[in-house]
Subunit: 328 residues, 2 copies
């Protein structure tokens, strides 16, 4: 295992400490590092709280700040945060207008966020499940929540910042999730520090179609394909899942899994954009980068969100977080 | 070789096309993809032009836009751009106030930018050489220009945007370069697409201290060390190179080489910050991410820039590029 670490037991704490020190103008850590919270709260605003296993950085901590999340609860690597983390976050960042949890659809996360929601007052939840690769998976009943979660957090975060009420935010989050589909491919496996070896074996000439962000199996193992062939299959899967109703404006998001450089991501974006145009998509907004990762896995996911004018305006609204920043 | 590509011959063109399509609001490509240029020019502003071999993305194209570069000339992977690329860029983005070339110190780059500077009128140059690892290297007489180049481009770019004249910009660029030192370490080698195999061999338990951004050898090959031990050695090398005069405010920049995830970079930042504090450094600005890469190499570099008030204000000034954006 080749990683920058001091000890497997302290990797999360040290990484969080570095993150909080580097972005002290935006955020700070809660007691015992239970959550990352926005430094300046906005009274009367619905609090947006997310979280999940670590190892997917910058998701979710990198999206804490003006126009996006109020708090993010980091679990251990690929392990759900515990309900007391979410409860502590609710207490710290709630300002009386209620809380919305944004939860990726994995059994552990859903269970723990549910438990916290029951114990707190005035909490609603949006569960993301944008991954079209498989219906059920290693840690999931139903579809997995993957990179599309970023899109939900950005758009709902902007609406919350503008003063939208809790029930409307929940409806908006569900609507953005419905308008969002993703699928990923892996060229290599990531390595969980505590395991010390790659999560899955994969041959030199192989790739995994439909991989999950924890290295879960996807649709199939296959020989490594060209970027165009990969994009063709992934985009067809996404367009097919939309029932072919992909004509119109959209956000195209090509996301790296942590071990793939920018040059390859832009090449994949170029291929995916051409493929989606054949499906009638007009790409009006784009995001390319490693935002929802799987440790050091080489690979990428492609996400398409069908946009209406409201969603586009909310996507464009100012955001000031460690990993996404524009308009301010 | 596991990469997202269609053909080795078209990787650069396709990646540039994707990049230009994703960021069409900021930039566009010149004819024959000779350069990436800022879409909106500012008449009367000195034009800042950089460039170099591809494979280091987002450097330099990702820094084209308001408050940073007016154009960037991409060579083939790890190969200098040709003088006609720089001449075409000068012609496209010059507005009569002169041009400043920002050039990393590699023999090919220096020769080709020199040639272009001689053929054009009103061009001055800043050559960056922030890498303290070795005095001469595979492609270099003197020190290599590495991640500190970003800092020079940001600070000089802000001053140019504010209307500073050519000679003063050249002096400022030299001053920022003098105030900046870097050193890198590699855990794995990157793979140049045309070569199809890793640039250098490195054992499972080994690392390279002082590696260059093309995988050039550094100071020594050694057993893989802890993050703290790596930071201690790198920070001591940088502080020593400053002659121990590191008391005062500074920018700490931890840069990933393309194959290292965010979690490890923040952990290294945490270690490096503590080490520099022992050298009397007060970290007042931070940057953590993969900005000056070496294809898919796992590793990172640490850069320290000693700041004065002017440099700090210019660092904070608004910037709107594909890879760095704040204040607008």
């Amino acid at each position: 295992m080749k990683k920058f670490i001091n000890s497997v037991d302290t990797i999360l704490a040290e990484s969080l400490d570095g993150f909080a020190a580097a972005h002290a103008d935006i955020l700070m850590l809660g007691e015992d590092r239970k959550f990352i919270r926005r430094r300046e709260l906005k009274p009367g605003k619905v609090a947006l709280i997310s979280g999940g296993g670590s190892g997917h950085e910058p998701l979710h901590g990198g999206f804490v700040g003006h126009g996006m999340l109020d708090a993010a609860c980091p679990g251990q690597v690929f392990t759900s945060p515990t309900p007391d983390q979410m409860l502590a976050a609710v207490e710290a960042v709630g300002t009386g207008a209620g809380c919305l949890f944004i939860v990726k659809n994995y059994e552990g996360d859903v269970m723990n966020f549910d438990m916290a929601a029951e114990m707190a007052d005035g909490v609603l939840q949006v569960v993301t499940n944008d991954d079209v690769a498989v219906e059920n998976s290693s840690y999931t009943t139903g579809r997995r929540g993957v990179a599309g979660t970023l899109v939900v957090e950005k758009i709902v975060g902007a609406a919350a910042e503008q003063g939208m009420a809790l029930r409307e935010l929940k409806a908006l989050g569900d609507r953005v999730n419905e308008a969002t589909r993703s699928m990923g491919v892996a060229l290599t496996s990531g390595t969980v520090p505590a395991a010390g070896k790659p999560t899955f074996e994969i041959g030199d000439g192989e790739m995994e179609f439909g991989v999950g962000i924890h290295g879960e199996p996807g649709r199939r193992r296959d020989a490594l394909k060209s970027a165009d062939a990969i994009a063709e299959e992934v985009c067809a899967a996404i367009a097919g899942d939309f029932g072919g109703r992909t004509e119109g404006p959209a956000l195209l998001f090509v996301n790296g899994f942590g071990g793939t450089p920018s040059m390859e991501l832009y090449l994949m974006y170029n291929s995916a954009r051409k493929m989606f145009e054949k499906h009638g998509v007009t790409v009006i907004r784009s995001l390319v980068g490693s935002y929802v990762t799987s440790l050091d896995m080489a690979g990428c996911s492609i996400t398409l969100t069908l946009l209406d004018d409201d969603m586009t305006a909310l996507w464009d609204a100012p955001v000031h977080t460690a990993a996404l920043r524009w308009g301010m």
